[in-house]
Symmetry: C2
Subunit: 316 residues, 2 copies
């Protein structure tokens, strides 16, 4: 089965043609998500037609379209259920009608963190396992759970994907953009890193204060060099992520925890620490949960599109 | 359908005969759970035969047996998967064979917190809703989730029932009996109440120090009278439970949160506080989660037995 896939990020759109677990062709376009999704739809269509042309294919050779979207989604109806400062118009767009009109294809849409795990499950670090969770460490903390071979969704599309908003600090926790306090995302993610750093008295004297961009790449680099503020931020963040890993294990009963996202560029430091914390603190009388790195990185949500189109349109 | 039901607690066994959502007859026997389950099996059998006799019924009038058990359970095989200081021999007992031999009936077994929610779902505070979670506030903190009409279990029977062991304090948290740190159960449950109280400098001067039994009934009583230590323990505990409620909402996407357990004798204080916290901090763009008190109290796990027997033996 060949499908057209897209992963709509805040700053870029990953666009591809996928067949049998492989990305046959792909491209990236700037997203300008603050301007909405409607202006991007012709860009998406043109990119798919160009990729198909390169492959000597046409839309009629495809089974459907898959979209990974950065919000809560009603997968059954295809509705976008909330808005988080990206593609604010999407809640009012009829993407299925657009896909039928412009490309003659059925369209399926799902939350992007859920798509990342579906991709790893079908073609990456989660192959052969039917009980798994994923944590995507980046601007925010995305999560997803698959339990006994079923993607956990819930009535309002929230189940599994709000793990980053499980509070790990019931008192004195940081106010999160979601409205909760002490969320793992508010305690350790790129979106909150500057705020976290600036509360520290040793920040002004730290090498981090002289970095043009304060991100976790900088934190891990200067921590490795012994910078005290960077070491503290690194160790604090790893403790939050490790706590989140145990919380996801206790919530969803997985055999495998997959860690992905841009911050996992420092996997050689993060993975051993999270593994040690899980081995020590997760309550799993049946055995030990494996903690592994994602394998598909940027492509997971594209590869997942094939599964999503098959799930949504089983008669194709 | 008539079934024989039992709820095996740490100190007492609730035993009943259930039909069509009602408990027709019931009794309570001391459990002495530290001595194991095997010595209790003849007590259980005799109690059921006595209750059936009072109702002019016999085992052949019943469809099966249901047991609510205080541990992780593999519901499909009926195996007890772990041991928590109660009925330590149960992992090695073949309860199904015992039930067939002694009473000629099929037996189904499930975790007791899960049974409490199943009871509320079928015949109590959760009727008519297919997305709900429960928190049982007592010696420990029991939880359970039902998502889109399916009881969440997971591969190893852990999913949904370990909500009390989601850490709400990633640093400086209390060591929990489960091996994790900062679990809601370790921060606010009857099992940890004495430890919590004694860390407070105002405990010795508090009326709580003169109570023969330090439990939450005493905490709420003295807090209402203005005792500073009791007020602090009450408010701290409510904050932990409210945080847990939001965490369960973010993990499982319910429409309703049901609060039960012995501590809910103080529902008039607990419910409004948890409701206010959930209304303010739960991220639910679709609407508002209802927070309600359980309705079946002690009988929920007995009433649930009918559903469990039907689920396990659909051909009856």
């Amino acid at each position: 089965m060949t499908i057209l896939a897209c992963d709509l990020g805040g700053t870029r759109m990953k666009i591809g043609v996928v067949r049998d677990g492989s990305v046959l062709a792909q491209t990236v376009e700037p997203a300008n998500s603050k301007a909405g999704l409607a202006p991007q739809l012709p860009v998406l269509k043109a990119a798919w037609l160009r990729l198909l042309g390169d492959l000597k294919l046409a839309p009629r050779d495809c089974a459907g379209i898959s979209i990974a979207f950065p919000s809560l989604i009603d997968a059954a109806t295809g509705r976008v259920l909330a808005e988080y400062g990206k593609y604010a118009d999407a809640m009012g767009l009829d993407l299925r009608a657009w896909a039928q009109r412009e490309l003659g294809l059925p369209l399926a849409i799902e939350n992007d963190a859920r798509m990342a795990l579906i991709g790893e499950w079908r073609a990456g670090a989660g192959r052969g396992v039917d009980n798994l969770v994923m944590m995507t460490l980046g601007t925010g903390l995305g999560t997803c759970a698959i339990i006994e071979g079923r993607v956990l969704r819930g009535k309002h599309g929230q189940a599994g994907v709000l793990g980053g908003h499980i509070s790990v600090r019931y008192d004195g926790g940081r106010a999160c953009s979601c409205g909760n306090v002490g969320c793992a995302e508010a305690e350790a993610s790129t979106a909150f890193l500057a705020e976290l750093a600036k509360t520290r008295s040793d920040f002004a004297a730290s090498a981090l204060a002289r970095e043009p961009v304060l991100d976790f790449a900088a934190v891990f680099k200067h921590a490795a060099a012994g910078d005290a503020c960077a070491v503290a931020l690194r160790d604090h963040s790893i403790q939050v992520w490790a706590t989140l890993a145990v919380n996801l294990i206790h919530a969803y009963d997985p055999e495998v925890v997959i860690l992905g996202g841009g911050i996992m560029a420092s996997a050689e430091v993060i993975l051993p620490a999270v593994r040690a914390h899980v081995a020590r603190h997760a309550h799993t009388p049946w055995g030990k949960v494996q903690v592994v790195a994602s394998q598909l990185s940027d492509n997971a949500a594209l590869v997942a599109g094939e599964w999503l189109v098959k799930e949504r349109f089983p008669n194709l």
